[in-house]
């Protein structure tokens, strides 16, 4: 039963992903708000599906079945983080994710979002942003990579505060430095060419 609901959730998550992937297209950059709105709509479906998932098992046995939805929950955390970043260029708080997905922050109140899953979602977003930085240059948007760089650097120092154990989350965190490096290279490329400051005089089509 749980598995069935989770499968439906995964399908919706992929739909959201497909909508958001189009921001990588050159034409997609102008349509970011529209894409986000569409993604938000799909999150409504996610909320009803989440509500259904909650009915499938007793609340106190969350961790017994955790593995079943862990993957999709991380994905959803990533997607909500990505939407929020595209909208406001800020990091989602855990509360916001929880609100978008229609679940709880703390364990006592019912179906909640584990910290690790939240952090994993944020890390997935980091690599997506590294890609976005590259593609925004291709699309002629030279200021975005610098904003992304600042954001990712902040994120990186944030993660450095954490004492991670040798677990999947740690492994994923190790990937972050490559994302940081990639974005730094983009910023470097832009700044030695003087494209960093004056986006309007640069290579606009």
């Amino acid at each position: 039963d749980i598995r069935k609901v989770v499968q439906v959730l995964e399908q919706t998550a992929r739909e959201v992903l497909t909508v958001l992937q189009s921001v990588h297209q050159p034409s997609g950059f102008k349509e970011i708000p529209g894409k986000c709105a569409k993604a938000r709509e799909l999150f409504c479906t996610v909320r009803t599906q989440m509500a259904e998932l909650k009915t499938k098992f007793p609340v106190e046995q969350y961790y017994r079945f955790h593995e079943h939805w862990r993957f999709v929950l991380q994905r959803l955390a990533f997607l909500s983080a990505f939407v929020v970043y595209l909208e406001s260029e800020a990091l989602v708080t855990r509360e916001e994710v929880v609100q978008i997905l229609g679940i709880e922050v703390v364990r006592e109140k019912g179906f909640h979002l584990d910290v690790e899953d939240y952090l994993a979602g944020v890390l997935i977003m980091a690599s997506e942003l590294a890609r976005l930085a590259v593609n925004s240059v291709t699309a002629g948007d030279y200021s975005r990579p610098i904003r992304i760089s600042n954001f990712i650097n902040e994120l990186d120092s944030g993660f450095r505060l954490l004492n991670l154990k040798n677990d999947p989350l740690r492994k994923r965190y190790d990937g972050l430095k490559y994302d940081v490096k990639k974005i730094e290279e983009v910023v470097y490329d832009l700044s030695i060419r003087g494209l960093a400051k004056e986006p309007e005089s640069g290579g606009d089509k």
Binding site: E10, T18, Q25, T138, G140, R193
Partner: protein, 277 residues
Amino acid sequence: PCTQRKDILHKDASAVMTNTVVGGIMVSYDFFQQELDTRHDKYERLVKISRDVTIESKRTIFLLHRVTSVQDTEDLLNEAEAKLDGVRQKIGQIAEELRGEDIYQFHRAFTPGIQEYVEAASFLHYIRHRSLISLEEINARLVFMRTEKADPRGPEALPLGAQVLTFQVTPSDYLLGVADLTGELMRMCISSVGNGDIDTPFQLSQFLRQIHDGFSYIGNTGPYEVSKKLHTLRQSLGKVEDACYALRVRGSEIPKHMLADVFSSRTTIIDPEEGVV
């Protein structure tokens, strides 16, 4: 000859069956042996054809890669088309072998060849039309007219009287072939960068992104191999995006050095502020 033997054996079987049980077992195992041998032979033949299909398709793909550096593309494309016709003949042989059989029973024997064919056919289609060939279009070209002749190889190939023979590419073969296609497109992108072609990489990156989005929509609901390919697809896409990025960044300084050479016959100085592309 085989069918005759079967008949004889059959008579023997009924005769022996009434007498001893042991003999009955022997006879029925004799049948099993025949059945299995026939099946294995067919399987081997299919593997052989499939391998030919793979090789020829690969060559076609190599041929198509020259498209970036050759002047008369049309000739080259026609040559590739001719090669693919040859491949289709081979697939016709597969279809013939499979007549009256359950296609999935022997699927594993020819799936590599078919995937390679899909890859080659879709690559050609992309170069011609800059779009993705559909499964229907592929299947539509795999209809074969049979001139009826006695098939000496398979004893079960009774004249069915079927004149039209079709080969259906399974959806998963199609998907896997398309996933392979992205690898070729990535190579094409890199080589066209090498040739100073600046438009193609951007077109390719858009196209690849669309395929990638399509595949990520399927995600892990598809067959297992598809999700494996998705990973490679991501890498190819990353490379193409990086290439476009490099072009974009370098593009704004190229006018002074390299591109100036390309355009030197026409213009004298290109305004460095004016980006390329």
